[in-house]
């Protein structure tokens, strides 16, 4: 009974056809004999963050001992409320390429711009002129020419033409006001310099200037700082019965590689759960009638394996801290609002 209760409280269980116990139940008074009320000490004791992997663009970390709502808030904020800088206005002086003006502007908008959004302010709607505090300007001016030195039998456009591919490397930063002094010579640029914007043919030209402003992903996905940010719950696999022989090998194939190990002792192959974390929860065990009852699949309710892929604008760890800051400022705003309401 105790055990079953504990399982319902802390685990999400994966059955053959559905998922059981999906909702958090750790509210005070849900279970008799449990003190589910929140207290700082208990939280501090249980709460843990464990960074598993961190590169320039990707990060995986475990967040343990926290309520789903909070973990989800971080995910949602990462997706849509951590600001970045992206192209917002495109001034087209000449575009004789095959690509339509609007489509060109849309493509430019989606290019991640390497600029620290913390250095900038939001541009207000009524504001007419761009200032150094809220705008970064780039120029894109490419004209395709025939390559006069191309071999006669060439068919490859790379040989035949010059500048027939408009890439992000063609985008030239034009400092506004004192931006050059403040941030240095090559402070702002697109994250990647090989993103294809358009293709040209001799005589065609793209000449435009773009204004980049600060914004959030809620407004437009181009401002989202992450390629994606999500979490999964830590899988937990328990062998209820011992699985031996060919069945053990069958069991191994039912999971992602490295989840189940088959040990051989005394000439008997026996399955053992080696690393449940690696499992992608495909639940393919349930295909096999003979294995169905040997195993329970659950996931730990408060163990979130976060994965944050940055677009390259900011390192992922910075994004996470930014997300936390956003949440904090929201809470602060909420608290002040409540105080104000009360004082009225």
């Amino acid at each position: 009974m105790e055990q079953a209760m504990e399982k319902i409280r802390t685990r999400v269980s994966l059955e053959e056809h559905d998922v059981k116990d999906v909702h958090s139940t750790d509210f005070p008074g849900t279970y008799q004999g449990y003190d589910d009320s929140w207290n700082q000490k208990k939280f501090e004791k249980n709460f843990k963050i464990d960074v598993k992997r961190l590169t320039d663009s990707e990060m995986e970390f475990d967040m343990i001992g926290i309520d789903t709502a909070i973990a989800n808030a971080f995910r949602r904020i990462l997706l849509s409320e951590v600001p970045t800088v992206a192209v917002e206005k495109v001034f087209i002086y000449n575009n004789t390429s095959i690509i339509q003006d609007e489509v060109l502007a849309h493509r430019l908008g989606l290019i991640p711009i390497c600029a620290d959004p913390r250095l900038f302010e939001y541009r207000t709607e009524d504001q007419e002129e761009p200032t150094e505090m809220d705008t970064i300007e780039f120029q894109l001016k490419v004209r395709c020419m025939k390559n006069t030195h191309a071999p006669k039998d060439a068919t490859d456009p790379d040989e035949l033409f010059k500048d027939h591919k408009v890439l992000t490397k063609h985008m030239k930063w034009i400092p506004i006001g004192n931006q050059a002094d403040l941030y240095g010579k090559n402070a702002f640029r697109p994250v990647h310099d090989d993103i294809l914007i358009a293709k040209l043919r001799p005589g065609q030209e793209i000449d435009c200037r773009v204004h980049c402003v600060k914004g959030i992903g809620k407004d437009h996905a181009k401002f989202s700082p992450v390629a994606t940010a999500s979490y999964r719950l830590l899988p937990e696999i328990k062998l209820v019965k011992t699985v031996e022989g060919d069945l053990a090998e069958l069991l191994q194939t039912c999971f992602s590689s490295g989840v189940i190990e088959v040990e051989e002792s005394n000439g008997v192959k026996r399955a053992r759960v080696a690393d449940a974390r690696r499992d992608m929860c495909s639940r393919n065990v349930f295909r096999h009638e003979e294995l169905k009852d040997c195993i329970t699949l659950t996931r730990v309710r408060d163990h979130f394996i976060f994965s944050v892929e940055s677009t390259g604008v900011l390192p992922p760890d910075v994004l996470v801290t930014e997300a936390i800051k956003v949440l904090m400022s929201k809470c602060r705003a909420f608290v002040t609002e409540m105080h104000e309401q009360r004082s009225k």
Partner: protein, 1142 residues
């Protein structure tokens, strides 16, 4: 002749060689579907149209001219014009007088010209007493079908096509007339010159023959009345006893008549009464019979006939020879064959009545013929050519007797425009009027739909039936088993045209006409005895089979099996055209040979001795390019079967189904579907109506229409910004190049319920996906402007923008204009802004009054081309050109980019359409363990009732394909197996059912169900909210009634109709009724005189000449109008007013 027998016997001997390994099971032939692309490579998707047109321009047109080669004149017996030959040249355009240049179809499209080529003739004629030969004399212009033998595009490589701004995937087969692409729809008709035995509504068995020759079309019926047989024809005022007809045809002996009809007991007894009747009528000899008939001939003026009066007998004889059963040739009044034909008709009816043979089925596809552009044009051209010659004759008759200085030269009177205009007019309006057949058909051509590549292809394979759409008949609409493989079983519209409009299947070919002469000779060589030398007894002898060629009796044959077999052997060996079909009908005791045009046929692999003739080696050679489809045909590995011959064959669907009786093997089962149905992945898992729905919707999907889409200026053109090739392909997709010109995008779909905005098939879209360009589309629209020159030497002009006096900037309406007065490319036009600032002289008809000494200064009136639209557009490009009709033609292409919004329509490839019900933020979307969130959330309630299992499999195949980085195939009746796809998923760590563990994006908690999750190909359909949304507070009113206008295009009001009014009456909301029906509509203050009850005006009653009893009323304007209209027809409506008392 000897040589011929040697060939035949050799071939037969070869066939009879026995194969030693006879009983082994037949191994499946891998990759035999590769024959299909090989077939399409030589045939193309629209080869029917092109073949038909080529046949017309190269062969049939010459035959037509040959048939009408001489024009003579009664005024001068020496005068004649003789056509020696006729040619259709290459398309060109006359740029200025006598200077022509070759023209490309695309130039014609852009410049609103007709893509046509000159028709030239070689003639021999007399001028005075001289005989002159003139070569290459133009008589008119022929619109040229794209990619036909006379088109500049034929045989061009893709690079050369690109130079001509043409798409290599464009199928051709249509015309460009006045800049519009026009297709001649394939017309389905009952086949001509065949005996069809049917029962009428009362259950009486009858038989009918529709004869059709170049000159005449007529219908002859054989009916049974009180056990007697009558011939019915609309030139005869009453039904004619058959025996009388036969006697009139010279079969006077009743014994012979009976022998011809049949000497079996039951036939004689059934026919006895008919003979008796003839005796009653006292008709014994041919003359008597002819007189009898002659008295019953309906009197009418015969068109164009000259010559003196004919006697009744002669008239009857003429009628029998040329009009009744017109297709049976009668040479010098030798009625033998025709008499046998009539006797056979009687015999068929008697046999059917006795139940010995079955009635013919009108809907059986072997009894249908498809009429294509070539045949239709031939009809039209012959009519025009005859008219042209008649006119020449008339001119000659008028002019020759007159004394004149110069000698009469007929060439000077040959007007080109009659033939040119006749052809252009017919194709551009679709009204086919052929005087000599009294044919009046509308809607023969249609504008080629360029909504998407598929809609264009779909249109080229469309077949329209002659049946009336309104008739509620199920027979012609239902799917006939004989349509198997020839017509697509899925692709037909819903609603009134259901089953009447059909589409060709992938491998269908339509035959063109063929020479009969060689076939007749061959038949006689193969032991057919000529009808002319046989007596009646021999014809109905049970031991012989009658041999027909295209509905005409050739003769009889004793060993019909040998005839059919040899004939087929010769055809396979290439001695007879591959499209000639032969089959025998046991019940009819007949062998039918058909070489006429319009039969549908398709290729099959020949099976002999349980072995398909096509082997693995052949396919390998095909893949290596050492073999073409023609080689397969030429070597007798593959042959074409038409519907009738297919019916006589035993076709195995798969190798494993080959039995000892099998004669043929299907090349690929999926070829029974057409182009549109071929796009559906796993269609064999879907409920069949869903495939039909998709066939209709695939034509509305946006995407790409061709490689030249950016060079086109169409009235309306939809493009997708980022079209994608489908992840789950089919062989058809590869073959028709849909992956090169796709219409749709791969969307990651989660099948789950979300919010409540997904009921009734609505979809939930991910906002971030839309931000990133999902389903974004471009809409191009054309604006046209013509600058005219008028009779009084004035002309339209285009002025630069008007400048504001103070700011020196163009006024708002003119901000889009360039300095030349035409909108500048790249600028944004808002509604009501001017695109072309055109002005027009106020006086265009009468010559200008010139004041002395002053140059002419006509007054101008502004007639600007104004942009109208709910959303702004950008000017994509401006084209200024001219053509023969218009000296100055301006075309503007306007562009809009649209992002999907709530209410836009989407559909998958399984007839599952839905509108966007909600656009959800990405963070609110559910996500999987991998962090994937869907582009589209689809409600699972769409599945149980629709039973589109194919969609489920498409999702699985798409998911497996994405994980392995490859395309999967969902070809009909094949495709990748679900079990294999599941294994692929398992291998990549996914659930084998395709169901993922998903978290809610809103709460962050896992969902309690596993979600079916994966990519599905979605189409954006052309129905968008932006084009449909409409509302009005106040706005324009109709002039006559002063009520609000109707319809979105006129910014009309929303009608409160009768039923809504009834609701309000029932509820008793009288004030609301007053408001809706009068105040908000056409309230009108009217002054009424209470004395006379008539309406006055501004407080004065004109009738009473006083203002004493005037009261003011508020009535609907329509009511006032009614009163006045009644007054105008002398009915006086008087209004009785009384004081309102409290």
């Amino acid at each position: 002749m000897n040589l011929f027998y040697i060939i035949t016997s050799n071939l037969l001997a070869k066939m009879d060689q026995t194969d030693p390994k006879d009983e082994e099971p037949v191994k499946a032939l891998e990759d035999k579907w590769k024959l299909l692309p090989a077939f399409l490579k030589i045939k193309g998707l629209v080869k029917q149209h092109i073949d038909s047109f080529n046949y017309f321009t190269n062969i049939e047109i010459k035959k037509i001219v040959k048939a009408n080669e001489k024009v003579t004149c009664e005024a001068d017996p020496n005068f004649y014009v003789k056509y020696l030959d006729i040619y259709v040249g290459m398309p060109d355009v006359e740029e200025s007088f006598n200077i022509t240049k070759s023209v490309s179809p695309h130039e014609c499209r852009l410049r609103d010209m007709t893509y046509s080529a000159p028709i030239t003739v070689d003639i021999e004629y007399t001028r005075g007493s001289q005989r002159i030969i003139r070569n290459n004399l133009p008589i008119g212009r022929m619109p040229i079908m794209l990619r036909s033998s006379n088109c500049v595009l034929t045989g061009k490589s893709p690079a050369e096509l690109a130079k001509l701004q043409e798409c290599p995937y464009d199928p051709g087969g249509y015309f460009v007339v006045k800049g519009v692409e026009k297709v001649c729809l394939i017309q389905e008709q009952l086949s001509k010159n065949r005996i069809i035995v049917e029962s009428d509504r009362k259950g009486n068995v009858g038989c009918s023959v529709t004869s059709s020759t170049h000159e005449k079309k007529s219908r002859t019926n054989l009916v049974v009345k009180q056990g007697r047989y009558y011939l019915k024809h609309n030139t005869l005022s009453e039904d004619m006893p058959v025996v009388v007809v036969l006697k009139a045809m010279g079969i006077e002996s009743e014994q012979e008549i009976v022998q011809m009809v049949g000497t079996e007991d039951n036939i004689i007894s059934a026919f006895a009464q008919a003979i008796e009747e003839c005796h009653k009528l006292q008709v014994y000899t041919q003359t008597q019979a002819l007189t009898y008939i002659g008295n019953k001939v309906r009197q009418r003026r015969v068109w164009g006939s000259s010559g003196g009066k004919k006697s009744k007998t002669e008239e009857a004889r003429e009628l029998l020879a040329t009009t009744i059963l017109a297709h049976v040739p009668v040479v010098e009044f030798n009625f033998k064959v025709k008499a046998i034909y009539v006797a056979l008709m009687v015999r068929r009816v008697i046999q059917t009545q006795a139940g010995l043979i079955k009635m013919d089925d009108r809907d059986y596809y072997g009894n249908k013929r498809l009429e294509l552009a070539g045949q239709l044009l031939a009809l039209l051209f012959e009519d025009l050519f005859k008219k042209f010659n008649a006119e020449l004759k008339m001119i000659a008759a008028k002019t020759i007797p007159k004394p004149r200085a110069a000698q009469f030269d007929i060439v000077k009177h040959m007007r080109q425009d009659q033939i040119t205009n006749g052809l252009v007019q017919a194709i551009s309006t679709g009204n086919w009027t052929v005087k000599r057949f009294k044919m009046e058909r509308a809607g023969v051509t249609q504008v080629l739909s360029r909504l998407s590549y598929i809609s264009c292809l779909g249109m080229m394979t469309r077949i329209s039936s002659q049946f009336e759409k309104t008739r509620k008949v199920s027979g012609p609409r239902s799917l006939q088993p004989s349509q198997w493989g020839m017509l697509c079983p899925s692709d037909t519209p819903e609603g009134e045209a259901c089953g009447l409009v059909k589409n060709l299947a992938l491998m269908t070919h339509i035959t063109t006409d063929m020479e009969e002469g060689p076939i007749i000779r061959l038949a006689f060589n193969l032991g057919v005895e000529d009808m002319h030398i046989l007596s009646g007894e021999e014809v109905s002898n049970p031991n012989v089979y009658l041999v027909f060629l295209n509905g005409n009796i050739l003769g009889v044959v004793r060993n019909h099996q040998r005839l059919v077999k040899t004939f087929r052997v010769l055809r396979r060996a290439g001695y007879i055209n591959e499209f000639v079909s032969i089959y025998s009908n046991q019940a009819h005791h007949c062998v039918y040979i058909a070489s006429d045009g319009g039969r549908v046929c398709r290729p099959y692999i020949i099976v002999q001795k349980r072995r398909p003739m096509v082997t693995k080696r052949h396919i390998e050679q095909l893949v290596q390019g050492l073999r073409s489809f023609e080689d397969f045909l030429g070597e007798g590995l593959v042959e074409y079967l038409d519907v009738n011959e297919e019916n006589d064959s035993n076709v195995a669907l798969y190798e494993s189904l080959i039995t000892g009786n099998s004669t043929h093997l299907e090349i690929e089962p999926f070829t029974i579907l057409g182009v549109c149905a071929g796009l559906i992945p796993y269609p064999h898992h879907n409920q069949s109506p869903r495939n039909t729905y998709q066939c209709a919707m695939g034509k509305q999907a946006m995407g790409t229409i061709g490689y030249n889409q950016r060079n086109r200026i169409d009235t309306l053109l939809y493009n997708l910004v980022y079209p994608q090739a489908p992840l789950v392909k089919s062989r058809t997709i590869d073959i028709i190049g849909f992956d090169k010109l796709p219409a749709g995008m791969a969307a990651t779909v989660a099948v789950m319920s979300y919010s409540g905005y997904d009921i009734e098939d609505a979809l939930v879209l991910n906002k971030a996906s839309l931000d990133r360009g999902f389903a974004r589309c471009l809409v191009y629209r054309k604006q046209n402007c013509v600058l005219k020159r008028y009779a009084n030497q004035t002309f339209d002009r285009v002025m630069g923008p008007l400048l504001d006096a103070t700011t020196k900037k163009p006024i708002w309406r003119h901000t889009v204009l360039d300095s030349d007065g035409i909108a500048a490319p790249g600028l944004r036009a808002e509604s009501k802004q001017v695109l072309v600032n055109k002005s027009m002289p106020t006086v265009t008809a009468s010559p200008l009054q010139t004041q002395a000494g002053q140059p002419q200064q006509p007054e101008y009136r502004d007639v600007p081309i104004v942009y109208k639209g709910a959303a702004d557009s950008y000017v994509e490009k401006v084209m200024i050109t001219s053509n023969n009709e218009e000296a100055f033609l301006i075309k503007l292409l306007m562009r809009q980019t649209r992002r999907p919004e709530i209410g836009d329509k989407f559909s998958s490839r399984h007839g599952q359409k839905g509108v966007c019900g909600l656009i959800a933020q990405q963070e609110d979307m559910p996500f999987t363990d991998f962090g994937i969130c869907p582009d589209i959330i689809m409600n699972p309630h769409g599945f149980p009732s629709r039973m589109t299992v194919g969609k489920l499999i498409e999702l699985l195949a798409g998911k497996a394909g994405v994980l392995d980085g490859k395309f999967h195939y969902g070809t009909a009746f094949g495709g990748d197996k679900v079990a294999d796809l599941s294994e692929d998923l398992v291998r990549n760590g996914f659930n084998y059912l395709g169901k993922d563990f998903v978290y809610s994006g809103i709460t962050g908690e896992p969902l309690s169900a596993y979600i079916f999750f994966g990519p599905v190909y979605y189409q954006k359909l052309k129905h968008m909210v932006l084009d449909k949304m409409h509302g009005r507070a106040k706005g324009p009113r109709a002039v006559l009634t002063r009520q609000p206008t109707e319809g979105r295009s006129r910014d009309g009001g929303l009608r409160l109709g009768e039923m809504e009014r009834d609701c309000l009456i029932g509820y008793g909301a009288s004030m609301l009724l007053i408001e809706r029906l009068m105040l908000s509509s056409d309230a009108f203050e009217v002054d009424v005189c209470s004395q006379c009850g008539l309406m006055g005006y501004s407080g004065w009653c004109h009738y009473c000449q006083s203002s004493r009893n005037i009261s003011s009323l508020r009535i609907p304007y329509a009511c006032k109008l009614l009163f006045q209209e009644l007054q105008s027809m002398n009915i006086v409506p008087r209004l009785a007013l009384s004081k309102m008392i409290d």
